[in-house]
Amino acid sequence: MNRYLLAALGLGFAAGPALAADGNGAGLLQSQCISCHAITKPESTSLDRLWERKGPDLYYAGSKFNKPWLEKWLQNPVRIRPAGEFYTRHLKAGDKEDVVDESSLTPHPKLSQADAEAAAAALMALVGPADLVSKGAFKGEKVSMAMGGMFFGKLRGCGACHMAKPGFGGSSGAELYTAGERLQGDYIYSYIKNPQRFDPRIWMPTLNLAEPDLQRLTGYILQLSATEAK
């Protein structure tokens, strides 16, 4: 069994049916999730740890995700990162360029509705360090999709690693046309501003964006989701 299989979809639960029928989501996280995910801040932030971990850190999940999305996704998990996580473990040479080695990816286990709701509640309680996500940093102003798209694509090159629409863009980063449903605006803002504050060795670079550009890009990504949903 591929030890990284659970990382493929971004979250990893090895849960059986109705594990948290009693609503003990914290117990579910403790018993089922910590083999793949850090639910407390890890002591090591080394490159070795990045290579060894099986799934994304969840110790700040409550400052990152939207609860309704978590509940829905845990019951019907779909891949968020086209090349899985850690992307470099799931590549093979193709005829023209590298492609995803699908055989290295395995679907994430589904949770029952009760377990998903309990787990989501427990995850939302994991807010992480107070200074990690800047509460209220994203001002929530509407942005021009044309301007945002130009900034996202030509001016800053975000599309090199991320997909702003299904099937077009990079595969090493998370798809972003579902980001507005998945993620909180303040998290998107804070992560773009400095990904290395969340994980010093993560493979997303810091773009050193000015404040107006951070607002514009965060707004664009959130609206992108809404646009794609129509």
Binding site: K96, P205, L207
Partner: protein, 133 residues
Amino acid sequence: MMMNNRQPASLFSVAGLALASCLMLPSANAAAADEQYAKAARNYDTYCVQCHGINRNGRGINSRDMSVQPRDHSDAKGMGSIPDEEIFQVIKEGGLSVNKSVLMPAWGNVMSDEEIRELAAYLRHVCNCGSSK
């Protein structure tokens, strides 16, 4: 058949072993190269592979839809035309800093100057070229 350059030092090592029966030196050199570039190769596999490819040929998984194709690091002629200091700068400060594509981001917030210098040296190993400038 595509060559897998992901660990070129390892391939070199294999070649060195094949020659070891008649000459011990290549094997010893290859082992030294493995050790010398191990850390840089790890960084390459973490950060650079997404665009520059597991074969170091500019055909990374992200290259499919990119408007400017990533540099082929196995191209001795192309890489040889880039001065050492420019390789360091483009990794640390990104493509725009040397009037190249914005699609090459700045990695100075992720890797230390020492790591970037090691990575630049590793690129010379991959292209099997020095700077012609």
